[in-house]
Amino acid sequence: MTPVGSGMIQGGWEFVWSAYGLTWVVLAVYLAWVLRAALRPSPPRRLE
């Protein structure tokens, strides 16, 4: 029996991939939204 406070967690790659995967997906979507808004030509300034 492994004593408390020793040993190494086995596996858990699904949590690792979830953390990295969602981070990259959210950052990619947000980046695309930011660039879309940033690259859109700005409206002409009001003259009056």
Partner: protein, 235 residues
Amino acid sequence: MKWELLVLALGVLVVAAGHAWGLFFAPPEAMMGDVGRILYVHVPTAWAGLLCFSTAFIAAIGTLWSGRAGWDALVEAASEVGVVLTALLLFQGSMWARPTWGVFWTWDPRLTTSAIMLVLFVGVLVVRRVVEVPERRMTLSAVAAIVAFVDVPIVYFAVKWFRTLHQDFSSPRTVDGAMVTPLRTAAIGMILLATGLIVARWRVIRARVAADLDAPALPARPAALDLGASNGRSA
């Protein structure tokens, strides 16, 4: 849209390099094993998020001090990027907590204060959307950002000030040498990415704020609605 495109591209590349290093080449953590690799995405996201909120705080002071649209736009841009990163941070943390603590969430001081920080800065963005008068929006959102920032040092020092499940600061003193380089690489990349995002958003928001400030003010009381005067009665 100028140099920030380069910063964004560089940030994506450096973050990808740091993550690849952490996922495939760094050693597994002594007790958490491969789950410990979440370190390389979680900690850089936290640092970048806290820097975004610190930027919003400085911009809020600049707004109240000068009343300039540039500072006002920076409050919104930095708060928005910080909110995205902090939402990701909480998700990454829950993915780390489940295999190590046995739960996705617990009302630990570090976690709770981080969630409060997210809600407070979402509140700043809500103020930006709800208040229509530009000058009033500028003042209210700056005050809201300063109030929200009070929680930022509490989040950072929560692991020192309170009894907490969360691990100590991740620094070269507390992280093994083999893990420091990928951690720093991912952190530099994430800060570059956050900087590029803030600047890109700042340009768009500043143009909108300037247009709002240029717009003619609406009359406080349209003459057509002055019913007492039109009926010949005095008020």
